[in-house]
Amino acid sequence: MTEVFSIRTYLRDIPLPFCPGCGNITVMDYFLRAVHELGHKDLRKFVFLSGIGCTAWIPSPHFEADSIHTTHGRSIPAATGMKLVRPELNVVVFGGDGDLVGIGLSHLIHAARRNMDIKVILVNNMIYGMTGGQVAPTTPFKAKTTTTPYGSFEHPLDATRLVVAAGASYAARWTTIHGVQLKEAMKKMLTTEGFAFVEAVSQCPTAFGRRVGLKTVADMLRWFKENSVPLEEAEKMTEKEIEGKIVVGEHVSRRLPTLTETIHETIEEARKHA
């Protein structure tokens, strides 16, 4: 790579809205580094879609690119329609855990099932941050949030394992302390044919960390570090031992027929018989 990476190459000149210490900035940075290292000098070949929540504001309107900021949880259906009509575009979805794993979960599963060739980045901060720190489907058991003041009585969902089971071509999970791995996973995601998914476990110091005893960003990152277990190790552990851990690594990478391929084969077939 001859040119030096500058994040400004890919951004509009609009101030970022994120709180100090927000993990979204880290994810944005590593995503754009991945784009840069793949040789894209701009974002012209990309379309970005997002729903509602802090993560939705990573691309919209900050990326100097086409960006569609949809309704809450509905970025994946819009991305599906867009990619089917314009298969040559790189369609990338950014979403938080509330957006993609809460209200929009059905679409996430079905996109993986269809092997819809879109790239999905889940920024999982384990909380509804924008609305002030309510419990999410990803919130750890017993964590105190504004809507679980006595601690959460529910168990969290593992989105990465879910999309693997549903049929994704690529899925990886890292945290915001795993910068290099996160960037490499995003590069692999962007070059995968089919549904590709990267979960970035991320810190929300404003609405989550300070309520669960992790007062500073550094405390949160240290917690990620101490709780992360590589996939290879996790496979040797019992379910009970894994509970509360963050299983990091590449969960799947495989070549499967994509929806764009199968739907366009169908069109060719139908045209022959028309």
């Binding site: 609009i14 012209r44 070949k45 379309v47 879609l49 919209s60 309107p61 100097e64 690119a65 086409d66 960006s67 569609i68 900021h69 949809t70 309704t71 509905r74 994946i76 259906p77 819009a78 991305a79 599906t80 329609g81 867009m82 990619k83 089917l84 009509v85 314009r86 040559e88 575009l89 059905s106 679409h107 079905h110 739907i263 169908t266 069109i267 077939e269 139908a270 045209r271 018989h273 028309a274």
Partner: protein, 381 residues
């Protein structure tokens, strides 16, 4: 149907089939839907036919996703449609609001059945008239067309696409089970007028304002367009606190439809200026009116009617002309007085307005019932 495109000819089609063929004729190349009675035939027909013309038909996981997918397809440059019935129409309302706010042309077909809720899935109703107008939240205006024959399922579907492209707005084809499921003779005309959205020039940047109906770029065309359902300025940049930006945007969005109400008004009228009794009707219910007029004429009663092909924006002025001439206006509907109150609002105190309603079981209002209302109804007392 093996022909790639429908050519000028006469067919014996089901209403839903006519709607699907009209969509193809109008240039629709993307359909996303979810199975629901009594609209499923539209999806089934397009699943067979769209691939033959290089288009895409996909069954989504629900109606929310269907509506989301057509919004995405529209921004990718395709003419796109979905079709549903009441319960699915309810689920689509959020993204219909999004399509309105982001000025995304698309067509939503609602084949009405008896509601609320699951209601009577296979039976006709006209209970979604107000939902088609006010279904999504916030200030908005909608363009809603109501066909009363298989021919109009074809003609008004094309019209719906043309209006969606012209006004850069979602357009609703408000059909009903009777019109959608019956079979009739239909003539596909030799020449069909097709209108397309205005594309921006390479130097243009204001895709959400300045002009009343701004040009619309597609994604992937180098415009770096930012689309958002949040309040935004002329360039699509979010502005979620400035009252002026919100007021300017939403007044323009509502104004481009409300302000063009006269141009959008499409009605069939008969004896509006010379009638004793006027009837305002739409959809399947209006089919009883023609015979009623004949029955009344035999008794020497002059009956005039207005049949709404455009239900929204409501054609106030045309109804007001009738109000000046008629002694009473009767509004027959297969719901509990939805357009009735709209007619009352439009005519004020100029004339008395009387409802005639029937719901459930798919039972239509008959010409005899309408005639009875004319000769001995409440308006006479």
């Amino acid at each position: 149907m093996n022909k790639k495109k429908v050519e000028q000819s006469t067919f014996f089609w089901q209403g839903n089939e006519a709607c699907a063929e009209a969509a193809i004729a109008a240039g629709c190349r993307f359909f996303a839907g979810y199975p629901i009675t009594p609209a499923s035939e539209i999806a089934e027909h397009l699943a067979e036919r769209l691939p033959q013309v290089g288009g895409i038909a996909i069954q989504m996981e629900d109606e929310i996703a269907s509506m989301g997918a057509i919004v995405g397809a529209s921004w990718a440059g395709a003419k796109a449609m979905t079709a549903t019935s009441g319960p699915g129409f309810s689920l689509m309302q959020e993204n219909i609001g999004y399509a309105f706010m982001t000025e995304t042309p698309c067509v939503i077909v609602d084949v009405q059945r008896a509601g609320p809720s699951t209601g009577q899935a296979t039976k006709c109703g006209q209970g979604d008239v107000m939902q088609a107008r006010w279904g999504t939240h916030g200030d908005y205006a909608s363009i809603v067309l109501s066909p009363n024959s298989v021919q109009e399922m074809f003609d008004l579907t094309i019209q719906a696409f043309n209006l969606a492209e012209t006004y850069r707005a979602p357009v609703i084809l408000l059909a009903d089970e009777v019109v959608a499921h019956m079979r009739e003779r239909i003539v596909v005309p030799a020449k069909i007028e097709i209108l397309n959205r205005r594309k921006p020039k390479p130097t243009e940047k204001a895709f959400f304002g300045v002009e009343e109906i701004p040009p619309m770029p597609s994604v992937g065309a180098g415009f770096n367009v930012t689309v958002t359902g949040s309040t935004h300025d002329e360039y699509g940049i979010r502005s979620t606190a400035d009252p002026k930006v919100h007021q300017k945007l939403v007044e323009r969005l509502v104004g481009k439809i409300r302000g063009n109400a006269d141009r959008l008004a499409d009605v069939e009228e008969h004896n509006v200026k010379n009638c004793d009794v006027g009837i305002v009707s739409y959809g399947c219910t209006s089919r009883a009116v023609y015979e009623t007029v004949d029955l009344a004429r035999e008794r020497g009663i002059k009956v005039g009617f207005i049949r709404l092909k455009t239900v929204w924006p409501f054609p106030d002025k045309i109804v007001q002309v009738m109000a000046k001439n008629a002694k009473a206006i009767i509004v027959p509907e297969m719901n509990l007085q939805q357009i009735f109150y709209e007619v009352k609002r439009a005519v004020g105190n100029a004339v008395s307005v009387f409802p005639l309603n029937k719901i459930g079981g798919g039972e239509m209002i008959t010409p005899e019932e309408l005639f009875t209302e004319i000769i001995e109804g409440a308006w006479k007392k």
